[in-house]
Subunit: 310 residues, 2 copies
């Protein structure tokens, strides 16, 4: 899957992942209304609205982008019904040949991590037949519990040729509280980064590892250090756009081959019709606004990845 | 809920939480077979088997214990069907007046953590009415992303009078890779522990805080330090029994009032019928074996919490 991701990024000249993180506020009135009429004004209706909203965006952008990153929390907030919408979204994206990064940030001890790995990347055998739960192509993980939390995912990844993005330095303002603390003169995120590089060596694709990292766009200086520390890790970069990360800051995240990073935008794409410059599309054409936002992001990012030979 | 937890622990003389972490291996043949016959030999049947297995254990133990801790990974591995079993389990436990600690170990940036908090502890408003997703009483959280990840949960907790257990020092062998690293001469877990104490002051119950901590039974020396560092935090202690933690090591986790810690056992209780000393019950009476294992654990723990005035 990492090889496919790299190839798609090159073909499309788009190191872009669209964050499918819908909230009910983002869903245009006409979709909400239809979903509530069909399924009831309740959790089922809300989940239906979110799925229909996603479908519109996927249909309008799938030919431009290599991957999507549904944030499972936005679905989990509606309980089981929301998770059905998550599952439908994953399935539909895969049908459209999009790679799916499940933004799940899980991580637990051995057997529990193995269960998460089964549910999100692998398969479970019941009565001699294989069944799959959510079946994403990649997932994000939290490293706080150490190798025990990561290894069971790696085993499933090796079997399934799937991949991971491990939190190293996150984009949020308080990420430094623990991640920036100095250990023998180096911040914790560097220690985590060197572990990611080490884990990554155990599961290499053609040019990049199946084990990638998450490094927020909001900390470009740290991005530069981490890029050098994990040369074979694809870096998933959240925080572009709405959170304040700018394209010119992103050059540091790319390797000299113009590869090595994939930049996420969520709100900036999926709620484009609500933001400055895209209001003209209006809520009925919200998906067209998302398409335009992807095209604009692709242009904007060229500044970063075409000039990454720093 | 923290006040109710403390009261129930005192009334029952049982600082015990039963980890409802079923795997198909644990489920006796007669339950599996009936579930497969009724719902099919597939994800739906497997989830039904797990729910029926849980129900048996809950019915056999609910009068002895204050709380249960379903590990959501064990359900998530079966996808949406598994999560329906999780939901049923949570609902049923609450009907039996058990407190439910959702072992979800979530944690993400602001709005995403808010969505998780909504789905697991809070409510979502649709068309003027409130709906609830999974609706546990407590959840476990991962602190790696800092305060941004915790605060949205605390806001929902204040509104709902619910609580949190934040990972400080986990019970797994590799927990030290990051958690034990020294920062200004003190390990990272102490820094996290002092943050937990600080967050906890913002949401106090009668004698303990709504913000608790997870500290593994396998590291009693660290437990002692953390107990002193977070005097008002209830400590959820995993790793007793199957993972190697012993009752005599647990005294360090309790305060002088004999309170302040609640010890989890998963396999040791729910799969008791498969372990030494309980085989005589046999698979048909697996739930009776679990009841006996709870009674034995209660006796064993008395060594720890009756003599906690260290």
């Amino acid at each position: 899957m990492i090889n496919k991701l790299v190839k798609k990024i090159e073909q499309l000249s788009a190191p872009i992942v669209v964050g499918l993180d819908p909230t009910l506020d983002f869903v245009p009135q006409h979709i909400l209304q239809r979903a509530y009429e069909e399924k009831g004004e309740n959790l089922t209706g809300a989940a239906e609205a979110i799925w229909q909203f996603n479908k519109g965006i996927i249909d309008a952008t799938y030919d431009l982008i290599p991957a999507v990153k549904p944030q499972i929390a936005m679905y989990e907030q509606f309980g089981v019904e929301g998770l059905k919408a998550f599952q439908k979204t994953v399935e539909y994206c895969k049908k459209k040949d999009l790679l799916v990064i499940g933004d799940i940030k899980r991580g637990d001890i051995g057997s529990t991590s193995a269960a998460y790995a089964t549910g999100h990347l692998g398969k479970v055998t019941i009565g001699g037949k294989d069944y799959r739960g959510f079946d994403e192509d990649f997932v994000t993980l939290n490293p706080y519990m150490g190798s025990d939390a990561i290894k069971p995912f790696m085993e499933v990844c090796k079997e399934e040729k799937k991949g991971l993005f491990i939190l190293v330095k996150t984009s949020n303002p308080s990420s430094g509280e623990f991640q920036d603390q100095l250990i023998d003169g180096r911040p914790l995120y560097e220690l985590v980064g060197s572990k990611v590089a080490q884990w990554g060596e155990e599961h290499m694709g053609e040019s990049y590892s199946y084990v990638g990292a998450v490094v927020g766009a909001t900390y470009p200086e740290m991005g530069k250090v981490l890029r050098a520390l994990m040369p074979k890790a694809y870096i998933l970069v959240p925080g572009y756009g709405a959170q304040g990360g700018k394209a010119e800051d992103l050059a540091a995240y790319f390797n000299k081959d113009g590869l090595g990073a994939i930049v996420n935008s969520s709100r900036g794409i999926i709620a484009a019709y609500k933001s400055k410059g895209y209001e003209k599309f209006g809520p009925e054409a919200y998906a067209d606004a998302s398409r335009q936002a992807v095209l604009d992001m692709r242009e904007d990012l060229k500044k970063a990845w075409l000039h990454a030979d720093k």
